[in-house]
Symmetry: C2
Subunit: 242 residues, 2 copies
Amino acid sequence: MAYELHYWPGIQGRGEFVRLSLEAAGAEYVDVARGEGGLEAMRHFLEHPSVQRPPFASPFLVDGSLVIGQTAAILLYLGPRLRLVPASLADRLWVHQIQLTIADLVQEVHDLHHPIANALYYDDQKDSALRRSEDFRRNRLPKFLAWFEAVLARNARNARRTVPRLVGARLSYADLSLFQVVDGLLYALPEASGRALRKTPLVAALHAGVGAERRVAQYLASERRLPFNEEGIFRHYPELDG
Amino acid sequence: MAYELHYWPGIQGRGEFVRLSLEAAGAEYVDVARGEGGLEAMRHFLEHPSVQRPPFASPFLVDGSLVIGQTAAILLYLGPRLRLVPASLADRLWVHQIQLTIADLVQEVHDLHHPIANALYYDDQKDSALRRSEDFRRNRLPKFLAWFEAVLARNARNARRTVPRLVGARLSYADLSLFQVVDGLLYALPEASGRALRKTPLVAALHAGVGAERRVAQYLASERRLPFNEEGIFRHYPELDG
């Protein structure tokens, strides 16, 4: 049976991390909320008292009787099923740890434009956003990228590869997620991200290489890939790019 | 061999979620950074180029050759070993999903006093903090607590229990983590948290009940339990309590 992915239909958002793994593995899935009546189905799982284990928020995955929320937990579940993690416990924990660190970065990128509250418009928190983004560009972005660079540099299996992997020699869901974060950063903060990526060539090579994987490239060129926009996590507000 | 926990010695912080699970299970562990030379050991794992899989930040757990960062990943690893998760995959994923949602709440609590940057003092971001905490008290705190309440209410195994559990009938690491978040909220925002908890009696009962578990109570009364303070995640700044 096809996996059901439930996520807001107009944005890439956090759903995109799940979508990329499903697409890269060639898995059958339904992007429920983008079909007819799909938003009602999503609201059912989030809000109806008959749902025994309700997700706190979207995205969530439905696989038979299982309902799994939290992007990293979804990928933890899908990883072995989609062959997007190595076999050993140590490797799987390491992939998950990297995914959780990517999730932290994603949250910080979100908070660049919403440092005060999701319930407020960007314009009503712009002063705070300007200050937050200054710190992000100066401290946080280089720190995160330097960590990913170190992870790539210390993976011995990358010695002979042109496209480096975060863990082991095969594509993992963490590689796909790092691709997505870098892609989003290049959209949202092209100046700052371009500068930072020149200092982390392995991260840049991973981004280019993962985007060129056959199934990923096909997906990115398809209508299933929504464009970035100013409703999602990665928003291009030039004033935040310094 | 004893588990090694590495975390900043002066605060409960994120390390406390790991500590509580280790203590509740009666596991042998060393709180490395609180011993002599312990901060150097911690810095080694975070900074030395010879570490093949460096954690991004503390806390991290060392178990033999395994080094695991990210609180939720540490608990994912420890859960089965400490008998703090049920046996089935579905239940384990659900516990993990709850833990990740608790982690999101913890991040929001942290950002109450640091909405702009960790690199700045609280006083230099107080205006933003006041606005953020207003939204948190009004929208986010009730939303999170209502979700935990729903999870507790929908766990059929709680029908005959005085102390409810989040998943199944036995104590899980998610129960311990929810205890800790509520404990921290009551310290940081006693007014707002007290008000919110009156509407979520099962969450309040879990907090009281978990704190009274024999090993947990012993730990809380010991010197190993650091007091809350204004260096950690949960800080009592009365102006943020509304």
